[in-house]
Symmetry: C2
Subunit: 200 residues, 2 copies
């Protein structure tokens, strides 16, 4: 089993190896990855060895193989359908963000509760009424991005779990209390900014 | 000196204590904070003891005092002026986000390079030409939010440092190579989403 810290670093390796791949390189050394990612190369070699990726001394890791292997571990080779809840300021930006494609994500459904927004489109997807989520799991949607106010996030998250969602990216500045089997990642942008003055 | 891990947790304590304060509570126990934040209460007691916050057995920590103390440590009592670079999809959402106020932040200047956008307003602030940053440090702007494409982020960040910025919240999916004295926090929203399928 791969340790959680290693899994958390895999997307960073994916980003760095994709970059090198786009530049046409066939091999990449752990040293080069270490410089790009500002990590230590022994750490990188150890992480990559968990899933059998072995570099050849003097030439490094074959880029195509490494890319395929990381994408396979992260389960990114199967297209990942996601639902976006909340078509406000942040939701609008997320709905049309092309950067999710690198990880194989596609926002296929958008929900909101405002009658003014339901029926309009953002990112090319029609906004539907959050009161009618239906069976998201049955439609192959196991992931959701939550961009609703903090006060609404817990209740909406519980309804998403009932509808079959198993992983949530929470952008509301609050903690979601959900069963252990649901994977939640919370990003609080204001909080990350709040750390800076201490160091400046 | 307060350890870095403790500093990173302070904004979470601030968020939880502000919530309890808004509800009118005068005291809060480390146990209640532990439940709200899903941390362990010995960890919370240890963190709070670094800056002399002592709870009274049976009643807990005085909420007003705790709030003041955390804000003081994080230097959030002095209004923090920030510049936003990039008035695109994400920049528009950030420019009018009221959530930065909890931490005392105000986006006072916005820059972009697109002639179409310069002169317009977002979040009530006029967009200026990124070619003329001027002396941000002299105008009391030591922090910046970077919402430009990844390919432009490094060059823009270097110019911000020359203009006097000392802390950067980077929202572009790339690593910024800057002198050690500059504090950089990078948030890669797509990458955080990219971790979910592994667990789902
Ligand atoms: N705007 C930003 O830049 C920014 C930055 C960091 C964090 N956030 C967080 O992201 C979330 C969204 O912020 P925003 O600025 O887009 O807010 P917003 O008010 O512009 O949008 C919120 C949207 O959620 C909808 N909504 C409210 N309750 C709902 C419910 N129960 N079910 C479904 N939809 C519901 C509203 O109709 C609205 O369209 C908030 O939690 C905010 O704190 C925003
Ligand atoms: N849209 C999202 O939801 C989202 C999510 C995660 C990360 N991001 C990241 O945030 C950044 C901005 O994304 P976006 O969707 O707002 O893109 P965008 O293309 O809508 O906006 C980018 C803005 O930056 C400006 N710009 C380009 N080069 C510049 C330079 N050298 N100096 C100043 N301004 C410059 C452009 O004129 C444009 O207004 C990107 O790095 C993106 O990967 C966006």
């Amino acid at each position: 089993k791969i340790p959680d810290e290693t899994v958390r670093r895999l997307p960073q390796y994916l980003r760095a190896v994709s970059f090198v791949h786009k530049q046409g390189c066939k091999y990449v050394s752990s040293q080069e990855l270490a410089e790009r990612l500002h990590m230590k190369s022994p750490q990188i070699r150890k992480d990559l060895s968990y899933f059998g990726a072995f570099g050849v001394k003097g030439t490094g890791y074959p880029v195509e193989t490494l890319l395929g292997r990381i994408r396979e571990i992260l389960k990114l080779n199967t297209p990942q359908k996601a639902a976006l809840i909340g078509a406000g300021r942040l939701g609008k930006a997320l709905a049309s963000y092309p950067g999710f494609r690198l990880y194989g994500f596609d926002i296929v459904e958008v929900f909101d509760r405002s009658p003014r927004k339901i029926g309009r489109k953002i990112g090319g997807v029609e906004i539907k009424d959050v009161a009618h989520l239906g069976d998201l799991g049955k439609r192959g949607i196991r992931l959701a991005l939550l961009a609703v106010p903090a006060g609404a996030a817990q209740e909406v998250a519980e309804r998403l779990v009932e509808a079959g969602v198993r992983g949530i990216l929470n952008l509301a500045p609050c903690y979601l209390k959900l069963p252990k089997r649901i994977k939640v990642v919370t990003i609080d942008i204001a909080m990350e900014l709040g750390i800076l003055p201490y160091y400046v």
